[in-house]
């Protein structure tokens, strides 16, 4: 497998140095692995800190900036960051209004953020946590680590970020983040496995002519393998899986997300099919976002996320944002 890297051991540090060079609005601490918006802490605003394994770019570092995250903590590839990183980030962004940790529901992320919250509270930072668990592919969550956090993370980070930018209290920002998570559902499909730099070969074997349904974002295999389907058939399967779990009673935000190696040409075509299914099912679409946002290294495939919004959540979604990966209104 050919990769555009020097050596596997330095991929994360190398990427951070490159981000620092590309985005002067960010303060990138390469050694301690913390990405902070340059003007942090912002007086009177709740700080938003997220993080997780690397390999999902632009998540989370690409979402740091006014109107979204205050800081992000990248771990090794597909490995949650260590508590010291989040404690450091919390200290850097706390203006006295408190800090919200946005945590994708994976065992490692939960444990490390829990330990970080203890460290930060010892330093006098008020910390609240919200778990993102939007993946409907995990069905028997009683017997697993629970539903995974995937595409819904983008909606949580953007909308909670807008609420924080308006100067809402920690309690309020936390409850908005929780509401966005409860209103979000995702389903992912892989057309190929991905290759981690450490391993250098695909994380699972997917023979030609087959696809993997219900994947997560870490190259872990999904729940079911089937003969290859068309874009339209995949849209039917994914959207129906979501609507079965959450029949929306209000308009939805749609995220058609690429896993990393699927061209935008295919993603836009797939989005047309997703919109067709939503129309057929009578679901009103408020806004749509198409692109590579919550990726899984070089995996080919896509995920669909729907988030039900009321007027308030839609207003916060539309609010100005200025980050490397999402930017509008400012």
């Amino acid at each position: 497998m050919r990769m555009l890297i020097n050596v596997p051991e330095t991929v994360v540090a190398d990427a951070l140095r490159g981000m620092a060079a590309a985005y002067p609005d960010l303060t990138v601490d390469v050694e301690n692995r913390v990405i902070v918006r340059r003007d942090a802490p912002v007086a009177g605003q709740v700080g938003l800190v997220s993080g997780g394994g690397s390999g999902h770019e632009p998540l989370h570092g690409g979402f740091v900036g006014p109107g979204m995250l205050s800081a992000a903590c990248p771990g090794e590839v597909f490995t949650s960051p260590v508590p010291d990183q989040m404690a450091r980030a919390a200290a850097a962004v706390d203006s006295g209004a408190g800090v919200l940790f946005i945590v994708k529901n994976y065992t490692g992320d939960v444990l490390n953020f829990d330990m970080a919250a203890e460290l930060a509270e010892d330093e006098g930072v008020q910390v609240a946590k919200v778990l993102v668990n939007d993946d409907v592919a995990v069905t028997d969550s009683l017997y697993t680590a629970g539903r995974r956090g995937t595409g819904g993370t983008l909606f949580v980070e953007k909308i909670a970020g807008a609420a924080a930018a308006e100067g809402r209290t920690l309690e309020r920002v936390e409850s908005i983040a929780r509401q966005v998570n409860e209103n979000s559902r995702s389903f992912g499909v892989a057309l190929s496995a991905c290759t981690t730099p450490a391993k250098g070969s695909p994380t699972f074997d997917l023979p030609d002519g087959e696809l993997e349904l219900g994947i997560g974002i870490h190259g872990e295999p999904g729940r079911e393998r089937r003969p290859m389907m068309t874009s339209g058939e995949i849209a039917d399967f994914a959207v129906n899986a979501i609507l079965e779990d959450m029949p929306p009673s209000s308009p939805v935000l749609v995220l058609v997300n690429g896993m990393g190696a699927t061209p935008l040409l295919e993603l836009f075509g797939f989005n047309a099919e997703v919109q067709r299914v939503l129309r057929e099912r009578g679901v009103a679409v408020a806004r749509t976002l198409v692109g590579n946002y919550v990726t899984s290294l070089d995996m080919a495939g896509t995920s669909v996320t729907l988030c039900q919004v009321d007027e308030e959540l839609l207003r916060l979604w539309d609010a100005p944002v200025r980050t490397p990966a999402l930017r509008w209104g400012m």
């Binding site: 090794e76 490995t79 260590v82 508590p83 490692g108 450490a198 872990e220």
Partner: protein, 204 residues
Amino acid sequence: MLDADFFRRWMTVAAASVDREADRLTALDAAIGDADHGSNLQRGFRAVTAALEKEATDTPGAVLTLAGRQLISTVGGAAGPLYGTLLRRSGKALGDAAEVGTPQLAEALRAGVDGVMALGGAAPGDKTMLDALIPAVDALADGFAAARAAAEAGAVATVPLQARKGRASYLGERSIGHQDPGATSSALLIAALEEAASGAEGSR
């Protein structure tokens, strides 16, 4: 009796066997997880040996506490907090004693395992590191060789189990038929204990 030197040797041997087996751990993890268990533990145990060379540790408890703290700060993932807690809790349970006997070590490791269970919420049979650690601690009264055999048998016994915790749990029934990487690395840690002990006998 086991002194600080013995515990330092345990950590050094563990680091060497993690180095040796890193590719196998990562390959096991690729089958039912995310292909990074070997490289993550390698990073962590290298940090442990570096810290033990740099910082003075006078007691068995201090060695394990320092090792645990290093793992928490360098490994990440679930393995960092879980292995870190195992060693840190065990170290704290050993207190300030300059030397400890095998029964005290068994008691301390049991406290460590309890910490792992409280943190991770797993139970025996969930296809996790506990499936190697619990039998090992139970067998420690019969000596290090018995503990090692119990840990290795426990790791192999995870093959037919369905994972109920951690990333492998997302696979449902498809996790059956694979040996758990966490139980495998736990067996390495216990095997290192026996190797450290036999090294001690050989050198004295």
